[in-house]
């Protein structure tokens, strides 16, 4: 029987490597790691276009009782301001993308009303 020394060394090294791997696996304690969530993503943020702005004057013509307008897309929350730095008024959806903002509490007046600002979110 002839023993190939090179082959014998190769097999011995392989057996040794397997034994080391098994030993490491056997003596490696396991940690309990709960599942977790992490990730990244993106979504577009776009704005609205306001049109058909109209004001409703009060019985006293200098009072502004309401402002109405139309948004180009559906919105969830809409608020309006009729004076720079003034009160913000909540708006309600009347139909479709049409909105109306009651400006009587506090009562808005045509002066010093100077600028309509509409803020909307989906």
């Amino acid at each position: 029987m002839t023993i190939d020394i090179r082959r014998f060394r190769y097999i011995a090294a392989l057996i040794a490597a397997v034994c080391v791997a098994v030993g490491v696996y056997a003596f490696t304690a396991s940690n309990t790691v709960p599942g977790s969530s992490a990730g990244a993503g993106s979504g577009a943020i776009t704005g609205y276009t306001v049109s058909n702005v109209a004001y409703t004057l009060g019985t006293v013509p200098t009072n502004m009782d309401a402002v109405t307008f139309t948004l180009d897309k559906a919105a969830g929350t809409v608020k309006a301001q009729v004076q720079t730095g003034g009160s913000w008024y909540s708006c309600s959806n009347t139909s479709g993308n049409n909105w109306s903002c009651d400006t009587t509490s506090p009562q808005a007046t045509v002066q010093p009303a100077d600028q309509l600002t509409v803020v909307a979110t989906s």
């Binding site: 306001v50 200098t62 600028q115």
Partner: protein, 130 residues
């Protein structure tokens, strides 16, 4: 031959790394959304009632006497004398018994006079709305 094998091995390692990175990078699902702010000037033209929609108003007058320009005249809550004076005006009387006088020149009188609550008197108005 050896160089070729090294190249193949390196390519394999890089491919495995790329696959591993792709596998372990989680993605979030983020829907598109909308938020916006828009501003408009509030002037006489913006405030005019629907009855005056055909008029191009340039001056807001809170009181009783209009100017030579095209005015939006907004009267007080009590009865008063309102005059549009020159220009093509939109005159809103408000409460009480008002006397509303449009443009003095009848030939170019295109004033719109809106009385509001109460019994009102209209003079030289092209359109009158009680």
């Amino acid at each position: 031959m050896t160089v070729y094998l090294r190249f193949v091995a390196l390519s394999g390692v890089l491919a495995a790394a790329a696959i591993a990175i792709g596998t372990f990078t989680a993605t979030n699902t983020v829907p598109s959304s909308r938020v916006g702010q828009q501003q408009f000037a509030i002037d006489a033209n913006a405030l005019k009632p629907a009855a005056c929609s055909a008029l191009n108003l340039t001056t807001l007058v809170v009181g009783t006497n209009g100017t030579a320009a095209n005015d939006l005249v907004l009267g007080p809550s009590t009865g008063s004398l309102l005059n549009g004076n020159g220009g093509t005006d939109c005159i809103v009387g408000g409460g009480g018994i008002d006397t509303i006088t449009g443009n003095g020149n009848a030939s170019s009188n295109n004033d719109v006079c809106i009385g509001g609550p109460g019994i009102d008197i209209f003079r030289k108005c092209k359109t009158t709305i009680q």
